[in-house]
C-alpha cells in the first residue's frame, strides 16, 4: 500500500510564533474534540498547523519575552528518561520559589530535537535562549525526556547552554520498557516494530548518558532513581534542590505524582522478559559504574548485576 514509501508531501508550513492560547475555542468544542480518538485529534490539530513539540512539523518560534523578563541559556535541563516520573519531578522543581516557570511554556520544549541534519549556529543558539525567559534572581529550565536518547543533542546543548545542570531520572529498564510502550500505544502510536524499538532504545541509559558526559562534567549531571524518588520523595527532592543551588523548600504535596498511567501494562511473555533482562544487563552494569549510588536493590531483575560489582 506504500504507506512507508510514500513520496513526502510538501514541507510543513511556515514558522509560527508560540501562542498556545491565542484562540481558545469554546468549552463545548473542546469537549467534543476530547471525545475523538487520539489519532483523529492529531489529524485535526495538524490540519490547523498545530504540532506537538515532539512531532515532525513542529517548528514554533520562541515565545515573546514578557515585561520584566530576561532570556538566556537554561540553568537546568532535564534530559531523561521517558516514563520515569519526569513530569512529577519537573512540577516539584518548578514549585520552588526560586524557579521561574511560565505557565504557557511546555515542560518539554524539544527546541534542539530537530537539528540532526539542519544547520546550528549563533542564530539558533540565540533563538534557543529565547525559550527560557525568567525574572532576575530566579533560575529556569525545562525537561525533555527524549533528549537522553537523541545523541545529536548533547553537543548542541553544550554549545547553547554550557553551564547548564542536567537532571536525569532513571528507572528499571524492563519496567520502563513496558510503561513506555503502553504509553506510546495509548497515545496513538502504531503497533509496529519501530514503536517497540523506540521503547527498547530508551532503556539503554548508560549508553546514552555516556554521550552527555563527553560534553558535561559529572558534577553537573544529577542522576536519580525513580524508584527511590517514590520511596523517599522529600529526601530525593532535597538532593535535586541542592544540586540546582536552591534553598531547602517543602512543596505542598510532594507525593502527588502527575501523568501516572492508569492503563494496564502490556503483557510480557516469560522468554521475552528474560531476553530483555539479558539485553539490558551490560548497560545496567555500566550505569552502576557511572552512578555509584545507584541502588540495584530497587531493581530486583538486575540483582545479580549488583552482586557482581
Amino acid at each position: 500500500m506504500g504507506d512507508d514509501s510514500s513520496p513526502p508531501p510538501a514541507p510543513v508550513g511556515p514558522v509560527t510564533v508560540w501562542q498556545p492560547d491565542a484562540v481558545r475555542p469554546p468549552e463545548f468544542v473542546r469537549r467534543t474534540f476530547r471525545g475523538f480518538p487520539p489519532n483523529v485529534r492529531t489529524v485535526l490539530l495538524h490540519a490547523r498547523g498545530d504540532y506537538a513539540p515532539w512531532e515532525e512539523g513542529y517548528h514554533a518560534a520562541a515565545p515573546v519575552t514578557g515585561p520584566g523578563e530576561v532570556v538566556g541559556p537554561p540553568d537546568f535541563v532535564g534530559i531523561g528518561t521517558q516514563k520515569a516520573g519526569t513530569s512529577w519531578w519537573y512540577e516539584l522543581v518548578s514549585e520552588h520559589p526560586g524557579v521561574f516557570d511560565r505557565p504557557d511554556l511546555p515542560k518539554e520544549r524539544h527546541a534542539l530535537s530537530r537539528f540532526v541534519t539542519e544547520p546550528f549556529g549563533p542564530a539558533q543558539v540565540e533563538e534557543f535562549h529565547r525559550w527560557f525567559p525568567r525574572t532576575p534572581g530566579t533560575i529556569t529550565g525545562e525537561w525533555t525526556p527524549e533528549y537522553l536518547v537523541y545523541p545529536w543533542v548533547a553537543p548542541l546543548l553544550a554549545e547553547a547552554a554550557p553551564d547548564a545542570r542536567l537532571l536525569v531520572l532513571v528507572r528499571e529498564p524492563v519496567d520502563r520498557f513496558r510503561s513506555g510502550l503502553t504509553f506510546r500505544l495509548s497515545m496513538g502510536a502504531p503497533d509496529t516494530s519501530a514503536t517497540v524499538a523506540d521503547a527498547v532504545r530508551q532503556g539503554f541509559t548508560a549508553r546514552w548518558l555516556r554521550r552527555y558526559l563527553q560534553y558535561f562534567p559529572t558534577d553537573r549531571v544529577l542522576v536519580q532513581q525513580y524508584e527511590r524518588c517514590r520511596a523517599d520523595p522529600e529526601g530525593e527532592l532535597a538532593r535535586t534542590y541542592a544540586f540546582l543551588g536552591l534553598d531547602p523548600h517543602r512543596p505542598a504535596d510532594v507525593r502527588r505524582e502527575v501523568n501516572v498511567s492508569t492503563r494496564a501494562k502490556l503483557p510480557l511473555d516469560p522468554g521475552a522478559e528474560a531476553a530483555l533482562v539479558d539485553l539490558y544487563r551490560a548497560d545496567v552494569a555500566d550505569l552502576a559504574g557511572l552512578v555509584p549510588d545507584l541502588d540495584l536493590g530497587l531493581w530486583p531483575r538486575f540483582a545479580d548485576v549488583g552482586s557482581a560489582r
Binding site: T42, H46, E55, T117, P119, F120, P155, S193
Partner: protein
Amino acid sequence: MTALGRLYASLPGPLARAVPVELRYDLRARLEAWAPGDLGFVPDPPPAGPDETTGPPDFLVLGPVESGARWWLSHVADLAAVAPTRDPDGAAHVFDRGCTEDLDADGWARFDALFPRRPGRIVGHWSADGLSYPWIAPLLARAAPEARVLVLVRDPVDLVADRVAATSGTRAPHGGSNLADAVDRGFAGSQVARLREVFPPEAVRVLQYERCVADGAGALSATAAFLDVAAPTAAFLPRPADGVTPSAGALLDPTARARLRALYAADVDRLAGLVPDLDLDLWTTFAGPG
C-alpha cells in the same frame, strides 16, 4: 484480512496515500490489512514446488534501508548456486513480535517455511531491522544458527542523511523517534559487535556498500567465496542501487556533517577494529586524517 481490508490493500498508491498519514495505521488495524512492520502482520509462506524443501535460510543479509542490502541480495541471488529469495523486500518481519511475545512452534516453523529451495542450492534472507533492533539478531541466531551473515555497512553520515531526507516532510507523528531511529541505524560498529555475540565471528562478513558499487564483480566473488559457492561465471551486470538515494549526504550542511562525523567517529573506529579490511577512504566523511 477483512473484505474491506483486501479492497484497501489493492488500492493504487495515490488513493492509499489520500488517507492522512496519522490515520493509516488505525485504518489498517480496523481492516486487518496489516503491512510489513505492523505487529499484526503474519507473512504467508510462498508455495514450495514439488522438488523444493524448506528450512532456515543458509545466509542472512543484514543492513538497513538505504544501506544497499536489498540491492546486494539481488546480485547474490544471481549466483548459480543461490535460489531466488521469495521475500526479496525482507518483508517477512517474523521476529518483530519477539520483544514482547515468545514464539511458539508454529512461529518458528512459519519462518522456515519462507525459504524454499531446490536441492543443492542455498537461499538467503534480508532483514532491515536485524542489525539495529537489538532483540532480533538473537532470534535470527536461534532460528538459523548455521547461517552465514553478510552485513552491509555504508558511510553512516550518508546513511542517516538519506534516511532523514526520505522520511522528512511526511508529517508523521512521533517525528523525534523517527529521527532517533535513523541516527541509531548508523552505529554499525556496536551493531556488528552485538551480532558477533550471537553468531560465531567467522560466520559474519562485513561488506562496504561503497566497495560493492566501485567493484561489483570483485565484491560478488568475495561474497561467493564467503558463502562457499561457485564464483560467478557471467559478467557482473551492475544495476541501480535500488532503494539507495546517494544525494542527501553530499548536500548536507557542512556544520551538520561535522557534528555527525563527531557523533559516529568512535563507532567507526570500533567498526574498523572489528573489520580490518574496512576501507575508510571509501567513506567521504571519514576519509583522510581524522
